[in-house]
């Protein structure tokens, strides 16, 4: 996930521990995330004030479950309705294939510059790097993504890509890369970016966006945004390409309002976003603006394999609000880059192993204290903690083997240790003998026990076992009673 073009700051899930360590030692990162996450948690709670949140989450979960239950039929229906509306539908097995499809569309139109609305799937498949190799410049237009791209970084949050940067850092980036005068005035910086990007919207040959909900019933692509860059991207260039994972489909138009209500409130605590943009066709005869061609690229990229397993399936309910990361004590402290994946935080830890395999992402399922906050706030009730535990089991070869790289963390030592423990714990005489020996040899316990003793002293067996203590206590009690 970290291999991008030269010069881009890279992170990889293999280096989670080092990256997390570095982030923890960076007071700027910690302050930026702490401040942002505290604000987001409070705003979310406020925004659900008037709502029967349980009923709404139940409905949200149930709409997503229904969509997944009928997924193949709904994808076919979406395709048929989009095509009937004039939207060309493409299917891609993986990110590489999707990138080639999009490059092909650009080349067919002789486009050398692409303007992009926010799309996590395009990040997932490294579309920008792919297009650049083909000599096509891809420019992000969401302000946060634009800043991150200028800084040759990747987003650190799925909703707020530049959340790791503060005002001074952003001012410096804009000064360095675009010659904007240094300022602490956010309005002035925003105005400068507006001017810079408007030129690019006009010049772009193709606009690439993501999709928040794809409605099978009507062949409609829904985009949620505040800035207007999504509307620009999908309206100004002559060609619009929407790219999305196959799980984003919903059955009916009426399924959209509950999910939209949950999405904006869970993500940023907004009761609504500035724009809800619903696209059902390219420019029709007689219309004066909008793209003349609209393409929809449906990307599988591991999703159909998640789909096979009853428990893992829940991962696909996600509507990408980011509430799980906003509420995660680990994410808040280490920030988004430490994970080294496109999707950071709890959702990233349960999704990335499927996209990249457990070999790459072996540390992510353990990047959680299992406090349960992510599951409690999830608008579609994904049991994230249970899925983290499931992936931990898979990584040591104790699951169903349904995840690529299952068993990667299995070691003979650990297996033998657990087997030994199991035998001891089910054989009382051996257990008593063992614990009593351990108590007597307590002076020999090592003072250093790897990661455990980095911040703690090593545990020592007690001189007297609990069993022995209880026995003594009972003997004393009987003594007293007899006297």
């Amino acid at each position: 996930m970290s291999e991008q073009t030269a010069g881009v700051q890279t992170y990889t899930p293999r280096e989670f521990h080092r990256q997390a360590h570095d982030a923890l030692g960076n007071p700027q990162i910690r302050a930026n995330f702490r401040k942002a996450m505290d604000g987001l948690m409070a705003k979310r709670l406020d925004s659900f004030d008037d709502w029967d949140l349980d009923a709404l989450r139940e409905l949200g979960a149930n709409i997503r479950l229904r969509a997944l239950a009928r997924l193949p039929d709904l994808l076919e229906k979406l395709e048929a309705n989009c095509e009937a509306n004039g939207i060309k539908v493409h299917w891609a097995e993986d990110g590489e294939q999707a990138c080639r499809i999009i490059r092909g569309i650009c080349e067919n139109h002789g486009a050398t510059s692409v303007i992009k609305g926010k799309s996590m799937v395009s990040e997932e498949m490294h579309l920008n790097a792919h297009l650049e190799e083909a000599g096509i410049e891809a420019l992000e237009s969401d302000l946060g993504e634009y800043l991150v791209q200028l800084n040759q970084q990747t987003p650190s949050h799925i909703i707020m890509p530049a959340i790791h940067l503060n005002t001074d850092e952003i001012s410096e980036i804009m000064h360095d890369k675009t010659g904007t005068e240094r300022t602490r005035d956010v309005d002035a910086m925003t105005a400068a970016a507006r001017q810079q990007l408007r030129e690019r919207f006009m010049a772009a040959g193709v606009g690439v966006s993501g999709v928040n909900f794809a409605v099978a019933e009507t062949g409609t692509l829904c985009l949620v945004e505040n800035e207007g860059n999504g509307r620009m991207t999908t309206t100004v260039p002559p060609v619009h390409v929407a790219v999305t994972g196959i799980e984003k489909v919903v059955e009916h138009l009426r399924d959209v309002p509950p999910l939209y209500s949950l999405l904006t409130r869970s993500a940023t605590g907004q009761h609504v976003t500035t724009y809800f943009n619903m696209i059902s066709s390219p420019r029709k005869e007689g219309e004066h603006d909008g793209p003349k061609e609209v393409h929809l690229v449906l990307v599988d990229s591991g999703r159909s394999s998640i789909y096979q397993d009853n428990e893992l399936l829940d991962t696909l309910r996600c509507i990408r609000c980011g509430a799980c990361m906003n509420h995660c004590p680990v994410y808040t402290r280490v920030g988004g880059h430490a994970y080294g994946t496109t999707y950071p935080g709890p959702i990233g830890s349960i999704l990335s192993p499927h996209l990249m395999g457990l070999e790459e992402t072996r540390d992510l399922p353990t990047a959680s204290s299992l406090c349960g906050a992510c599951g409690e706030v999830c608008p579609v009730k994904i049991p994230i903690p249970d899925l983290l535990v499931r992936l931990r089991r898979e990584s040591v070869g104790e699951g169903r083997g349904n995840v690529a790289g299952a068993g990667i963390k299995r070691t003979r030592k650990e297996v033998a240790a657990w087997k030994g423990f199991q035998w001891l714990a089910t054989h009382p005489a051996a257990w008593r003998a063992g614990t009593s020996v351990a108590g007597r040899l307590r002076a020999l316990t090592p003072a250093r026990l790897g990661a455990w003793t980095q911040h703690r002293s090593a545990p020592r067996p007690a001189t007297t076992t609990l069993h022995a203590l209880v026995k003594q206590h009972q003997a004393a009690k009987t003594d007293k009673e007899e006297r």
Binding site: R66, E217, G228, S280, S304, S305
Partner: protein, 228 residues
């Protein structure tokens, strides 16, 4: 096998077997039971909370209010349609005003630079609004193209006080959206905004910096109570 067929095949031949779809109870997103007045009050409160400006007008003299907004905002060039009654009435009323009227019934390719650089405001009608979230709903047409509510720095939207619904769900259901979607359907709630620079809210990042909603009232009763 094509990618399409391979993906669909994997989904259909699901290892853990077919899934059953639960029924959905939509009660939580409908049935607010607000009166017309309550809807207006809520609409105004919510759109106001995200920097949307609301001005009220009687149906017969709403163009006077429009003329005043144009003067207040220093609009020199106003883009608008020709056929919708809103555009027709505005054109008639502004014929002697100090504002140049810009025709929008031209293919964007012919006047993109002009639209981006040299239009101060776009005037559009609206199909209705949503009380719960303070959102306008627009279905752009050849007469009122998509970019008119997006590219100029000021968007002036004309809303009839009678056309508010309680919730987004109600709009979709009562107006039969599922039986025929337009090229582009939009909900607009306030001017363009971002909080991408350290959570600080800034308006007008890509779209309009300002949104003015002129609410037209058929009778003074609702107008005056909403004004309070």
């Amino acid at each position: 096998m094509s990618a399409r067929d391979a993906i669909l095949k994997r989904l259909r031949e699901r290892a853990d077997g077919a899934l059953s779809a639960p029924d959905s109870d939509f009660a939580v997103v409908t049935g607010r039971g607000w009166s017309r007045e309550e809807r207006l009050v809520r609409f105004e409160r919510w759109i106001g909370s995200v920097h949307g400006e609301v001005v009220h007008a009687a149906e017969e003299d709403w163009t006077d209010v429009l003329a005043k907004v144009l003067v207040d905002k220093g609009v020199r060039r106003l883009a608008l349609g020709k056929q919708h009654p809103v555009a027709v009435e505005a054109r008639r009323a502004l014929v002697n005003a100090e504002v140049e009227l810009v025709d929008v019934d031209r293919d964007i390719e012919q006047w993109q630079r002009e639209q981006f650089d040299d239009v101060d405001a776009g005037l559009t009608s609206t199909r209705g609004a949503i009380a719960e979230t303070g959102s306008l709903w627009l279905w752009p047409t050849p007469d009122e193209p998509r970019l008119i509510s997006l590219v100029p720095p000021l968007h002036i939207a004309v809303l009839d006080g009678r056309t508010l619904e309680d919730t987004f769900f109600d709009v979709i259901e009562k107006h039969g959206w599922a039986s025929g979607m337009p090229t582009n359907a939009l909900l607009i709630s306030g001017p363009s905004k971002t909080a991408d620079i350290e959570q600080t809210l800034a308006y007008g990042v890509h779209g309009p910096r300002e949104l003015v909603v002129i609410v037209r009232h058929a009778d003074d009763v609702i107008g005056s109570s909403a004004r309070q």
